[in-house]
Symmetry: C2
Subunit: 343 residues, 2 copies
DNA sequence: CGAATAAGTTTGATCGATCAAATCCATGAT
DNA sequence: ATCATGGATTTGATCGATCAAACTTATTCG
């Protein structure tokens, strides 16, 4: 046989019509058990595989999710996105879905890609990461009724509960609270928060967790807390310099919690072994140098994203405009305590 | 308009037939310039986008490459694969190609996926990474005439020049030679090679580079070189213990070159600041701690892979069984020297 | 007993594009 | 003036599957 077998060939071999073969594959329930067995045997014998493109043309579904691969050069925290992608691909695979990658230079370009891929029936839905304030991408997707789910809350005030916006996120506030409480329990009092400038939803959320725990667990006043709070761009060097500045200013502290492992490592490189530091993201770097960190359960995030968009187990899109289920998931991260290896 | 426009709609709007529209898209040369302009205007006006699945059904091409996402190896060096994936996706995108991800539990499972995706016209070709000795996957692909290219040489003795096996790889021997020569130039003499047990092509290749340079640049005998050569499994802890063992055995050394950044970091955590260490892969960890390392130019690897399989600029498969071009690319890595940040 | 109902299967049409062959038309050679 | 030539465009068929409706056959009920 030269050509690949089609439903017609299988039907002939099993003595049934093409549609029956199709039914065996897509709606086994309607076919008599005996017939089904015969067809299944023929499928196995001929090594038949459905032609994905033909099916997609007809059904206008692709069983494929699109996700953008960030340019993401600055290594260290890039691994979060990569690990999420791993988890997502594995779980999608288990549901018979596949992930189509693409890149884009900017949000407008990304929207153009959305359009192309969705209209061409390349993908059924999109998974977005690193959403930001008033994200034009989610607006476009909602407006054009293209299904999607984001890893990351829509930080705009109103969007937050927008029923059309499905999202999964990690509760950074809880993460920082855990980290801070852990240090408090170990006897630390003056705990520094080393984070990013205000404005990023994610960063503000994490800072909030530290403040919550400090307010509840110490008697430091707001002004004092302000002094223990550092805001710099992400990066190892930035983290180090920030802590250096703190020391130079003569501000005492006995532990540090950070918004990222990059910052955490920067701090680690400067302070003595007696000052505990906790990072965020639990990257390979943290593991390698023995930096305690907050682990984002990305498997759960991926599972949540798929669940929201495809239902609990299916590989078909859920009618998300009807469904009454909750339209988001907030996942609690976990503190990983490590024994320091450097410094 | 409710439905998306098709070639027919565009044709009607421009006063031509559907095939002419198709030609404007796929063979602009055969259409008269004036007509073409009219059709292009109609395309823009209606916002027409070709339906990818329909095109694929007819042409049996998908303009998509499949690549397996590894099951998340031990963090630190996993980033090489991820960076390669980034580079590949970006360059594929520039050619109008897309990358389809999948996962597999083992080589047999992966082969099953090859079959499914290829027969379903989901992908035109595959990109394989981390090939190994007598890899059943490449054998299967060759046997079934499925186009593919590997990142990594086929380490089997005969496969190496197999004209049906397209491959790109990084010249690890050159990398280690560069690293070793750099240290020799800086005055080191007794340079340790910290690598993996024999048997992996990649590892043996790298060790060869160190030995080349040591033979040429020192008067140490073979026996002495054997003593300076460590073979352990990859990992930070393993690297550290190996070096500790060396010290315990009373063997003197004044520099270390490694087969990976994991091993390099392990070594770094143990030796004094006066013993230079050079890792391999130039991972974010290396950058963060200031470990010198060997950078694999993954953009070049990705470009080479696409070039081999799709031709210099095209987005169509090259007739690789005919082509007389070279069927592989060996890329030279680059030493990145850094100022130590820890220890 | 005949008609309504359900279960199982088949047939015709369709998804949107491209291939292959046919048609049309202007030009130049005979 | 006739016919071959080649460029530009159109028509018919097809890729492989699924949908929607039609058809068979067996079963049930008034």
């Amino acid at each position: 046989m030269d050509k690949l077998p089609t439903v017609l060939d299988v039907g002939r071999a099993a003595g049934v019509s093409r549609q029956t073969v199709s039914n065996v594959l897509n709606a086994p329930g309607v076919v008599k058990a005996e017939t089904r067995a015969r067809v299944e045997a023929a499928i196995a014998e001929l090594g038949y595989r459905p032609h994905a493109s033909a099916r997609r043309l007809r059904t206008r579904k692709s069983a494929t999710l699109g996700i953008r691969l960030d340019p993401m050069t600055n290594g260290i925290s890039g691994s979060v996105h990569d690990r999420f992608l791993h988890a997502l691909t594995e779980q999608a695979d288990a549901r018979g879905l596949r992930m189509l990658l693409f890149t884009a230079t900017d949000p407008q370009d990304e929207i153009r890609q959305f359009q192309r891929m969705h209209e061409g029936a390349d993908v059924d839905a999109f998974v977005l990461t690193s959403t930001f304030f008033d994200d034009p991408r989610t607006e476009w997707l909602i407006q054009h009724r293209v299904p999607f789910v984001t890893f990351g809350r829509p930080w705009g005030i109103d969007d937050m509960k927008d029923p059309l916006h499905l999202w999964v996120d990690v509760d950074g506030r809880s993460g920082l609270r855990q980290a801070t409480e852990h240090l408090l329990a170990e006897g630390a009092r003056r705990i520094v928060y080393l984070g990013w400038p205000s404005g990023s939803g994610t960063g503000d959320d994490r800072r909030g967790g530290w403040r919550d725990a400090m307010r509840a667990g110490t008697d430091l006043g707001e002004a004092e807390l302000d002094r223990l709070q550092l805001a710099v761009e992400d990066g190892v060097a930035q983290g180090r310099e920030a802590v250096r500045g703190l020391e130079a200013a003569g501000i005492r502290f006995d532990a540090i919690v950070c918004a990222s492992d990059s910052l955490g490592l920067g701090a680690l490189l400067l302070v003595g072994a007696d000052v505990p530091v906790i990072g965020y993201d639990n990257t390979p770097v943290a593991e390698a140098v023995g930096l305690s960190s907050i682990e984002q359960p990305l498997e759960d995030v991926a599972a949540g994203a798929l669940e929201l968009i495809m239902g609990r187990t299916g590989s078909e899109l859920v009618d998300w405009e009807q469904s009454d289920d909750s339209r988001h998931r907030l996942i609690t991260p976990r503190l990983v305590v490590r024994q320091r290896r450097i410094s």
